[in-house]
């Protein structure tokens, strides 16, 4: 793209006044001057908002839980994505716990369908975990998205959203789509840790993953 040309509308960028020995004020000489301005911290922040990777874990087939601890309190919201691979012998039921709280303080509401039937259940449930489940077909994925807005507020109770779907390769009976609303009702602390685990102790199949992202807002 061409720079300043005769007759072309132009404007200054940034607040810096360029060296004035022999140049017009406000005109950037080269990219080094732009970099100098960025380095001085005077350059405007990026205007795009996006999810930034925080941490993740890939299961090796020998463990049944993973905990995100010390969750940074600097993001606007959190998003977790998991992809579990089913095991042929059992249906894993991955659960969530927040802030290490193992008491029966979790409220939950679940709506969805499984194998062609409505599975609206667990509404009003108070439990020691927030529920979900996996496909029971070997190497078949279950994908989960967990959203936490307002997780940094220490004076408010902040619900979370969980959506997940289970796949099937040999028919449709194991296919499902689900939405879960969950909340920890034991105080109003900010959420600093999240445990993802199977309550029956089934191990997550090798290659299963869970990742946490933080939403960055300028």
């Amino acid at each position: 793209m061409a720079g300043i040309e005769a007759g072309k509308t132009w404007s200054r960028i940034g607040a810096e006044t360029a060296p004035t020995d022999s140049a017009a004020a406000g005109v950037w000489g080269d990219l080094n001057e732009v970099a100098e301005n960025v380095g001085a911290g005077t350059w405007p922040a990026p205007k795009y908002s996006q999810y930034e990777y925080i941490a993740g874990h890939t299961f090796d087939g020998s463990t049944s839980s993973y905990t995100f601890s010390g969750i940074p309190q600097t993001y606007n919201s959190l998003r977790l994505i998991s992809c579990d691979l089913g095991q042929s012998s059992s249906i894993a039921t991955p659960r969530l716990q927040l802030n290490g709280d193992t008491g029966s303080y979790y409220g939950m509401c679940w709506v969805g369908s499984h194998g062609g039937s409505i599975t609206s259940r667990f509404g009003g449930y108070t439990s020691s975990t927030i529920y979900s489940y996996d496909s029971n077909e070997a190497s078949t994925p279950t994908v989960r998205e967990i959203l936490l807005d307002g997780y940094t507020l220490s004076s408010m109770v902040s619900p979370l959203q969980l959506q997940f779907g289970t796949c099937a390769t040999s028919g449709t009976s194991n296919m499902s789509a689900n939405g879960v609303s969950g909340v920890l009702l034991n105080g109003t602390a900010a959420i600093t840790s999240l445990k993802y685990f199977d309550i029956s102790g089934y191990t997550f199949a090798s290659g299963s993953t869970i990742s946490m992202f933080g939403f960055v807002t300028p």
Partner: protein, 174 residues
């Protein structure tokens, strides 16, 4: 990619929060955040476009409340519901609802055919024995010869609590 546009913050003394001057350059909009009411019982949050108070909205919402399934719809209403807030038994002062909303076709019809519409999920604890998980959708069938440049968020009975913060983003690529 999402580009941050603006935020609105509750104060405890205003029943309406408003985004103004929304650019018409995005493919769609996203509103994210948390909210709560100052009302002493369950409250309903509603949305309007371009401050149009006419009966130009259509709404559908449904899901699970405790052990019951619910579905509601309304046509020709003056604003569209998008979230419930908790009842008094759960201490409305400390319980947030969580919101993730998509808004489509917010430009005038000659730019993007169809009427402005939204869909969102909003969750919260309803009572000592009931959690709510609802999906909401709504359409604005008013004047679509102009862009939507203003969005009004209205708490029906109380005011927006001071920990309410909703952020508006524009999608540049979807």
């Amino acid at each position: 990619m999402m580009e941050y546009i603006a935020s609105v913050q509750g104060t405890g003394s205003a029943a309406t929060l408003t985004f103004t001057g929304i650019p018409n350059t995005y493919n769609s909009l996203v509103m994210k955040g948390v909210g709560h009411t100052t009302h002493t019982s369950q409250d309903l949050a509603k949305i309007r476009f371009n401050s149009d108070t006419g009966y130009n909205y259509v709404s559908n919402r449904g899901g699970r409340d405790g052990t019951n399934n619910y579905a509601f719809q309304g046509g020709g209403i003056s604003m569209a519901p998008f979230a419930y807030t908790p009842s008094a038994s759960l201490n409305v002062g400390t319980m947030l609802f969580q919101l993730d909303m998509n808004i489509w076709s917010y430009q005038k019809a000659s730019t993007r055919p169809g009427c402005p519409s939204f869909m969102c999920q909003a969750n919260y604890r309803h009572s000592d024995s009931a959690q709510i998980g609802f999906l909401y959708s709504g359409w604005y069938k008013g004047d679509n010869t102009v862009d939507v440049t203003t969005i009004n968020l209205i708490m029906t009975s109380g005011n927006w609590g001071s920990n309410t913060k909703l952020d508006l983003y524009g999608r540049t690529d979807s």
